[in-house]
């Protein structure tokens, strides 16, 4: 089976995100043939080259999402093409200049000030936030119209940079009902938006979709499209789904739309992939408004058409649900991590060497979001009750601190202030109970050694995404005390203590409880290791995707003409019974694209041609792992 892996700024390149797990996935599923379709984010990335690819990667296609567009080829500019372009781009622009995200799908009652007719019949809870089905449909219509146009004539980039496009966008922004941000767009803003759109829509005019004449099949030859990230990488998948019926699987370990929001004000280059850089200058309000609306609508479109969406954790899942993803098609697949590094220390169990069970370990980068200050204050509290406790702070960043007066130096100064050197008696040299070490030092050569050096591992962050350090500690079989941030509760389940963030006293109490009860430590550590081995290994990740691939393949096969030996069509090669009239997911009725009519699944009338007994069975949203709600935090 051929899998088209769609990436953006990631996998085959040696630098970039989403690279490691893609590599593990491809290596782990050697029975499938992979074709990698990659969009690169910058000259640095292309310059760095590719990582090593396994043999079963059939081919790699790359295209840049940066720099000047390709010079125009072919006959573009005829009156008919221009009219069609203006129509489709006008729809797209109307879709993104409508108020986005300001509405409330959950009945908060915030009234949109849009003059456009809202889908008044649509019940609450359908579609993207503030995104009436009308606007979403206009966006989708415009997007696919542009894709068709690019497929027929090519050279969409030139058209998107033309005056027609800018004028169309201006008209859309000036219509009644456009949000305030879009109304105030200046000429420079409009230009910036069209250029960013041109870069974002470049996948539409690539030659990845096969020429249909028996030559290079491209994406028309794959059996499954797997988009490794959201954003521009799903565009080829959407097109393949529409043109060839290829099933689309979307995996997001971080929500691209959220990155777009976070990167927008700072104007950080490349974080949003396509959200424009303007040389590092912060983007103006109208530009951000329009571009985030574009990415939001694109995400909503991708969520609506994908056959299955696999978020990496509950946080991602919440964002996806918020942006209109159908709950029935969401399936959490936790990222896999390499457990072999920690096997030795984990197998020993929580039986650290003498004296270490009084040691707390903190591993990570010393940065303000990690709140090492609170950790130090908490440890001061611990020392009041347990004077022989020690704290080892292991910095994972290599090399010296970038700035001498930064946060790490501040933490060191505070530690020196709070914990002066202590000696056992009057004749020996003293030592501070808090030690700052760096990974790679002789004492802590590896991460496993760092975690193994103490009895309890502490995580004191105030901001955290997916807590990698916590999972590593779990692999090591260590009892943990962590703050309730990000996906911590979800990861730890019931196998560690969780305290509120910014609460040193609670942190100290939890640490004391564990330090004084070695047996509980051992029990929690063993449970944590068992949980991590079940949920967060590479093997479970690969196994989950193996199952999903087969499931998607069997439920939504690509409709292909069966071809005989001589290349002629082979009638009746596929029996009529091969097509089961039942629907696999509830989202596949509706229009031809898999757009479902608004409303929750239960309230929708069943398709009329399907008898009731052949309808879809009631389906629970599946998580690969046990859901955190069952585990209890």
């Amino acid at each position: 089976m051929r899998v088209g892996l769609l990436t953006e700024g990631g996998y085959p390149y040696a630098t970039g995100d989403a690279r490691v797990w893609c590599d593990r996935l491809v290596r782990g599923l050697a029975q499938h043939e992979f074709e990698v379709y990659a969009l690169s984010r910058g000259p640095g990335q292309e310059g760095a080259g590719w990582g090593e690819l396994p043999r079963h990667v059939g081919r790699v296609c790359t295209a840049p999402l940066w720099g000047e567009p390709e010079p125009r080829r072919g006959g573009w500019g005829g009156r008919r093409q221009r009219r069609r372009f203006a129509e489709h781009f006008g729809e797209l622009a109307a879709g993104i200049s409508a108020p986005y995200g300001s509405g409330a799908p959950h009945g908060s009652g915030v009234v949109q000030d849009s003059g456009a007719p809202q889908g008044s019949g649509a019940p609450q809870g359908s579609g993207a936030p503030g995104c009436s089905t009308d606007q979403a449909d206009r966006f989708a219509y415009g997007l696919h119209g542009l894709a068709d146009l690019a497929g027929e004539y090519g050279g969409l980039s030139a058209a998107l940079r033309s005056e027609d496009a800018v004028r169309t966008l201006e008209r859309a922004c000036r219509t009644l009902g456009a949000p305030h941000g879009a109304q105030r767009a200046r000429a420079a803003d409009l230009l910036a938006v069209t250029e960013a759109l041109e870069r974002a829509l470049r996948p539409l005019s690539l030659d990845w979709y096969g020429d249909g004449a028996g030559g290079d099949p491209g994406l028309s030859g794959v059996d499954l499209c797997h988009a490794a990230t959201g954003g521009a990488a799903v565009l080829p998948g959407l097109l393949a789904k529409r043109r060839f019926g290829t099933p689309l699987l979307l995996t997001e370990y971080g929500v691209r739309l959220r990155e777009c929001y976070l990167a927008g004000p700072a104007g950080a280059a490349g974080a949003a992939g396509t959200a424009g850089t303007e040389g590092g200058r912060p983007l103006s309000g109208p530009v951000r408004s329009l571009l985030t609306a574009f990415h939001g609508r694109l995400a909503a479109e991708a969520y609506a058409r994908a056959d299955l969406i696999t978020p990496g954790n509950t946080h991602t899942r919440r964002w996806q649900e918020r942006c209109g993803a159908d709950r029935e098609r969401l399936r959490t697949v936790y990222p896999g991590m390499d457990a072999a590094r920690f096997a030795e220390i984990g197998e020993q169990g929580a039986a650290p060497s003498e004296g270490d069970d009084r040691t707390l370990v903190w591993v990570g980068r010393i940065e303000p979001p990690k709140d090492v200050i609170a950790l130090l204050h908490a440890f001061a509290e611990v020392r009041r009750w347990q004077p022989d406790a020690r704290l080892r702070i292991v910095e994972t960043r290599r090399g010296e601190d970038p700035e001498p007066d930064g946060y790490p130096a501040h933490c060191r100064a505070l530690a020196d202030h709070l914990f002066p050197d202590e000696a056992a008696d009057a004749h020996s040299a003293g030592d501070s109970p808090v030690s700052f070490e760096r990974l790679g030092d002789p004492e802590v050569p590896t991460l496993a050694d760092a975690y193994g050096a103490g009895g309890v591992v502490v995580l004191s962050s105030v901001v955290e995404g997916f807590p990698v350090g916590l999972v590593e500690a779990m692999f090591c079989g260590r009892a943990t005390v962590s703050t309730d941030v990000g996906a911590v509760c979800e990861v730890i389940g019931g196998t560690g203590l969780v305290v509120p963030p910014r609460n040193p006293r609670a942190l100290a109490d939890a640490c004391l409880a564990l330090l004084s009860d070695a047996e509980r430590c051992a029990r929690l550590g063993a449970a944590a290791r068992a949980r991590a081995l079940e949920l967060f290994t590479v093997e479970q990740n690969v196994a989950a995707f193996r199952g999903i691939y087969l499931e998607l393949m069997s439920h939504c096969p690509v409709p292909r003409e069966e071809v005989g030996e001589g290349g002629g069509p082979l009638p009746f090669a596929r029996p009529a019974e091969a097509h089961v009239p039942g629907r696999w997911t509830a989202g596949r009725d509706g229009d031809g694209f898999g757009h479902r009519p608004p409303g929750p699944a239960a309230s929708r009338p069943a398709p009329e041609h399907t008898p009731t007994w052949a309808g879809p069975p009631p389906r629970e949203p599946l998580g690969v792992g046990p859901r955190p709600s069952e585990e209890g935090a």
Partner: protein, 541 residues
């Protein structure tokens, strides 16, 4: 703080702005109340808001005795409410100070309280008797948001407001609620934190923040983008454009002087050839960077451009001599007009670059301040006209300079000859074509050059064809034209017509906003084309 308004009663005309404010509060907070669906939950808060509002209005200024007295009288009727009113008096007051620090309208602070009070007036009385201690959730937001409140003191009436002030910049700048949600999450706000603010999740909390915080005014567009280099460096770079002209002028004058002295053509020829090569190299180096650099054109387009320009330059050098020779028979080649044309062309590089740079910078500046495309176009049209006029004026000034370098009549005396007019037209054509190509209209630029080349080639071809037996009538119009206006009339017509066409086109094309795209994107080097690689032999399906 502004002067404290007196509390004169609810219908006093002096407090009409308050009425307006309460309207606003009502509008912004109605969604909130209905969102939670907990109007009764809101009751105590709004009640307190009312009490504190009155206390605030009366207790702020020195002239507060009346208001305070009446307030106390009012509050003391209620008994248990009085301490609450007084306690919460300070919460909003401090908020208010914060707000006015940030430059908001000073009456913005209590707005929501008033709105809420007006909203749930019905629910006020019964719930207000609920003792304070029965609502323990009031204490929790204080730990997260209401820093600075003493122990045992009540938190602010509205827990969200503290959060609103803490993340005011984020909320005021946000383009939609999801941006606030993303920012809040980046600051460590989770769904559990949101629950303490009586919201289901971060998204609904962000929605309330988005609805309540007024959008910040967009900062004024940045002034002219700061030049990347020091003024001295920029002046030096601009002066470098004089180099080709200086080299060419020096070469020409030196060669003619040497010829005049030595009566031997070889030295002058060698000098001229060397100088011409140096000039071309300098010109090429100048064109590779700076305002006249054409980015991202394909190899074919580049070749076509080079060929067209080469043809035009070649015709300027020897075309007239060739045409006259074809029509009237051979005569010796006179290098003086060609040298003068070369000097004029090389000298014109500098004003061309300066004009192009000026145009680009001014247009970009106008782009940043224009509200719409029409406004931009209206502003750029006179700019473009003045750029073209400035270039033509510079050419007119350069013609006497070029005359100085070749032996001939004193420069100021003679009017513009036809040959010089041809060179001026050629300069204009090349300038416009280059300007169009720089701004992305390579095809138009190439067409202009091609038209001029075609006319010149046709003239030469007819003249040559007329020499064939029996085809003499073909050369008749050309012969008449050269007889009347001189051989230079052909390049004048060709280049002039092409330049005119290009000028008309450029007037439409270069005054559009899309011609002045983002300079940041333009500096990026051209991306390579799509690449496909097979790492393994393709297994046929």
């Amino acid at each position: 703080m502004t002067t404290p308004p007196r509390w004169n009663g609810p219908f006093d005309p002096a407090s009409s702005d308050r009425g307006l404010a309460s309207d606003r509060g009502l509008a912004s907070d109605r969604g909130l109340a209905s969102d939670r669906g907990l109007a009764s939950d809101r009751g105590p808060v709004s009640d307190r808001g009312l009490a504190s509002d009155r206390g605030l209005a009366s207790g702020r200024g020195p002239a507060s005795d009346r208001g305070l007295a009446s307030d106390r009288g009012l509050v003391s009727d209620r008994g248990p409410v009085s301490d609450r009113g007084l306690a919460s008096d300070r919460g909003p007051a401090s908020d208010r100070g914060l707000v006015s620090d940030r430059g908001l309208a000073s009456d913005r602070g209590p707005v929501s309280d008033r709105g809420l009070a007006a909203l749930s007036g019905a629910a006020r009385v019964p719930v207000s008797r609920v003792p304070v201690s029965r609502r323990p959730d009031e204490a929790s937001p204080r730990t997260a948001a209401g820093k600075g409140q003493g122990k045992g003191r009540r938190g602010p009436a509205d827990p969200v407001r503290a959060l609103m002030h803490r993340h005011h910049d984020l909320c005021a700048r946000a383009v939609d609620p999801l941006e606030i949600a993303a920012g809040l999450e980046a600051h460590g706000v989770t769904d559990r934190t949101a629950a303490r603010f009586r919201h289901r999740d971060v998204f609904s909390l962000a929605e309330e923040l988005y609805a309540r915080v007024p959008r910040a005014e967009e900062p004024a567009p940045p002034a002219a983008p700061a030049p990347g280099r020091a003024p001295v460096v920029r002046l030096t770079l601009a002066a470098l454009w004089l180099l080709p002209g200086a080299l060419c002028a020096a070469t020409a004058s030196a060669a003619f002087r040497v010829d005049a002295i030595r009566k031997d053509a070889t030295v002058g020829l060698g000098l001229g050839a060397g100088g011409a090569a140096l000039t071309l190299i300098a010109l090429w180096l100048c064109l590779r960077r700076g305002p006249l650099r054409v980015r991202g054109s394909g190899r074919g387009g580049r070749l076509a451009h080079a060929f067209g320009t080469g043809w035009l330059l070649g015709y300027a050098a020897a075309g007239d001599w060739l045409l006259t020779g074809l029509l009237d028979g051979r005569r010796p080649y006179d290098a003086a007009p060609a040298a003068e044309a070369a000097v004029l062309l090389a000298l014109a590089a500098a004003p061309a670059a300066w004009c192009a740079r000026w145009f680009a910078v001014r247009a970009r500046r106008r782009l940043a301040v224009s509200r719409g495309l029409e406004e931009f176009a209206a502003g750029v049209r006179p700019l473009f006209a003045s750029v073209v006029a400035a270039f033509l004026c510079a050419l007119a000034a350069l013609v006497p300079t070029a005359r100085l370098t070749v032996p001939g009549p004193p420069p100021a005396a003679a009017p513009l000859s036809t040959a010089e007019a041809a060179v001026v037209a050629l300069c204009g054509l090349l300038f416009l074509a280059r300007l169009l190509a720089v701004h992305g209209f390579r095809r138009a630029a190439l067409s202009g050059l091609a038209v001029a080349c075609a006319v010149q080639a046709a003239a030469l071809a007819t003249a040559a064809a007329a020499r064939l037996p029996g085809a003499a009538p073909l050369g008749e119009p050309m012969a008449r034209l050269t007889a009347a206006q001189g051989a230079a009339a052909v390049p004048v017509a060709a280049c002039g017509a092409a330049a005119l066409v290009l000028l008309i086109h450029a007037f439409g094309a270069l005054c559009r906003a899309s011609a002045h795209g983002d300079p940041g994107a333009r500096t990026a080097r051209t991306a390579r084309d799509t690449r496909t690689t097979r790492t393994a032999p393709d297994r046929a399906p």
